[in-house]
């Protein structure tokens, strides 16, 4: 059946295009932040694009998701326009959260983005609740939660997976295990840091382990997980091994991290994997890359020319 098809060349090309867009977008964000143009503090997911694209491409219309403080990739991969995402980082009305949210609170409800959350684990229970609603109304929709390895230590994570499995909600849990929680390495924050799938055992929950640097593998695994949840068989824990290339936040000197660890990470670039898998020519690749760069430049232009909210707007949208 249609869903089961494995990734064809055209799709993989699309995945690469998406990943390139996200990569260039975040590199630009780093640049603009350093230039002092972006308020607040930001987190990029450079190196983790395969997870965002693999999972989001596997989702279907009507599916919803909740992201984290590291949300640009998920948001772009699900189809929000770079212009509006960038505009949010500049605090403009044209931003996808109209300037109320910022980098850690990207929302795009039309595209199923129920919000990026800056509280670790904070978005998980709502994803269980949305998955419950889909199940109660017998809708073929799935709610997806993105979170990191560090988030598996918080009680909210436990209660959410426990409840989802107990009630068989239409939910999948995507754990992006980059082996870091800010400056804290996996071995320092979790007894099962090197095999997060073990977390699922406490709930008898189905889990799937996958290499996050291989976007095709992520896509296939996500498909499987989403189908499982969609069919009402219950939630799935997607244990994605990935790499954080840069610091925790933009500007993080990473004093806590060895050069080896950073270099090792860089050797597992999802862009390279996809590029090889596709066997695409350099010209072809550069064309995609330039396309991405142009979109990102345009996004910055769009954002800079955006409209600042009025001070009094701060008192709107508090109550429905």
């Amino acid at each position: 059946m249609e869903k089961r098809r494995t990734v064809n060349e055209e799709q993989l090309r699309e995945f690469l295009r998406e990943m390139l867009l996200i990569r260039r977008f975040e590199e630009k964000v780093e640049e603009r932040f350093r230039a002092g143009e972006l308020p607040g503090f930001l987190h990029v997911a450079i190196g983790q694009e395969g997870v965002a694209v693999g999972v989001c491409q596997a989702m279907e219309d009507g599916d919803i998701f909740a992201s984290t403080h590291r949300a640009h990739g998920h948001t772009l991969a699900r189809g929000s326009h770079p212009n509006n995402v960038m505009a949010e980082l500049y605090g403009k009305i044209e931003g996808i959260s109209h300037g109320y949210g910022g980098s850690m609170h990207l929302y795009d409800v039309e595209r199923g983005n129920y919000g990026a959350n800056a509280v670790i684990g904070g978005g998980l229970p709502a994803v269980v609740g949305a998955g419950l609603a889909f199940k109660m109304r017998d809708e073929p929709r799935v709610a997806v939660a993105f979170f990191g390895d560090g988030a598996t230590n918080i009680g909210t994570f436990h209660e959410s997976l426990n409840l989802a499995q107990l009630w068989k909600t239409k939910t999948i849990f995507v754990c992006e295990n980059n082996h870091w929680a800010e400056s804290t390495p996996g071995w320092q924050h979790s007894p099962v840091w090197d095999d997060m799938s073990k977390r699922a055992l406490a709930y008898d929950m189905k889990s799937i382990k996958v290499n996050g640097q291989d976007v095709t593998a992520v896509y296939e695994a996500a498909r499987q997980a989403l189908e499982h949840a969609r069919s009402g068989e219950g939630p799935v824990f997607l244990d994605v091994e990935t790499k954080r290339f840069h610091g925790h936040y933009i500007g993080d000197p990473q004093v806590y991290r060895t050069k080896e660890d950073r270099e090792d990470a860089a050797h597992h670039d999802p862009l390279d994997v996809a590029r090889k898998g596709l066997g695409i020519s350099d010209e072809d690749y550069d064309a995609l890359d330039n396309e991405a760069l142009e979109m990102v430049e345009a996004a910055v232009e769009f954002a800079k020319n955006g409209t600042d909210p009025q001070p009094e707007d701060a008192l709107k949208n508090i109550y429905a």
């Binding site: 919000g115 509280v119 904070g122 229970p125 709610a143 508090i318």
Partner: protein, 325 residues
């Protein structure tokens, strides 16, 4: 008008709301077969089934959060937190999530969630089963906070809370469940944000919440015997607060007592006093008196508990003090 208990009134509102809209469902610990630890939801499982009357694990954080998610996905969940003391386990979801999703999304989302909870001293529950924490929620923009004191109010306000498109933290009180009162034949929604005057008076205004409303009415009757005319007002909704009604009464009586069962220090009465001294400064003939629990956790031994928890006497004495008696 029929007379029913506060407990029955809550149940009425829940059942009626569930009949009227299939998107309304309830979840909480032991609310199904057992009908809730306070017996409030008895019978609802039989009428609505286990999909809409959901027993939950002991997971205060997740059940509130699941309510948020279901609400954002179009349902109107009513979550029960068995005791207010356990709200401390779900505050992250209430304060950082429910209260802020609409705002952080720039108005894209709404969270029509009702969280029912209850607490209260007077039956020796000990220090972890009797706290009154409504003041905390009043400090949080994005939330509405209700604390009805009569069967009619609790029924009409719970209906309004369930159909409100914002998260409403709905406080009930353990000792009020058996209290009886007249209610309209059929449910009449009572808008959130409107105070209610339970007794008109001219000498002193007593602004009371929850069980202190009844204890204040007792004190008022006693004061009447001394020839003191006491007006008793119940804000009913603490957020948004009906400041106009409170100010109007104070401008009439020029004397105020604020009473709640919560600890006096940093309790809701502090906000009321701060508002009134500001908006009715020139009308006040005496300092605003606050009546609340003494500054201590709740001890188990009844003699100590009674000493800490305010009753009619404390209100009565405060009334006299405002009159310099």
């Amino acid at each position: 008008m029929p007379e029913i208990t506060y407990r029955e009134a809550v149940r009425d509102a829940l059942a009626a709301a569930m009949r009227a809209d299939e998107n309304v469902f309830i979840m909480g610990e032991d609310i199904a077969e057992m009908g809730g630890s306070m017996g409030v939801t008895q019978g609802l499982l039989d009428e609505f089934g286990s999909e809409r009357v959901r027993n939950t694990p002991i997971s205060e954080m997740a059940i509130v959060g699941a309510g948020i998610g279901a609400a954002m996905a179009g349902m109107r969940p009513v979550v029960e937190i068995m005791y207010e003391d356990f709200l401390t386990l779900s505050l992250e979801q209430i304060v950082n999530q429910a209260a802020k999703h609409r705002y952080m999304s720039g108005g894209q989302l709404k969270v029509p969630l009702t969280i029912r909870t209850q607490g209260g001293a007077g039956w020796s529950p000990g220090a972890q089963h009797a706290q009154q924490l409504e003041a905390w929620l009043v400090h949080v923009p994005g939330l509405k906070v209700a604390f009805p004191s009569t069967p009619e109010d609790v029924r009409g306000m719970l209906w309004s809370a369930i159909y409100d498109d914002n998260p409403v933290i709905f406080f009930e009180h353990r000792l009020l469940y058996p209290v009886k009162g007249e209610v309209p034949e059929k449910i009449e929604p009572i808008p959130l944000g409107k105070a209610r005057t339970l007794r008109e008076g001219t000498d002193v205004t007593v602004i009371a919440t929850g069980p202190m409303v009844h204890r204040s009415l007792e004190a008022a009757t006693r004061a009447e015997g001394d020839g003191i005319s006491v007006e008793v007002i119940d804000p009913r909704t603490l957020q948004p607060l009906d400041e106009a009604a409170l100010v109007a009464s104070v401008k009439k009586t020029n004397r105020v007592v604020v009473a709640h069962e919560a600890v006096e220090r940093m309790g809701f009465g502090a906000e009321v006093a701060a508002v009134l001294q500001y908006k009715a400064f020139d009308w006040l003939d005496a300092p605003i008196e606050r009546v609340g629990a003494k500054f201590a956790p709740l001890a188990f031994a009844p003699v100590m508990e009674q000493f800490v928890v305010p009753g009619p006497d404390q209100v009565y004495d405060a009334i006299l003090r405002t009159l310099g008696k």
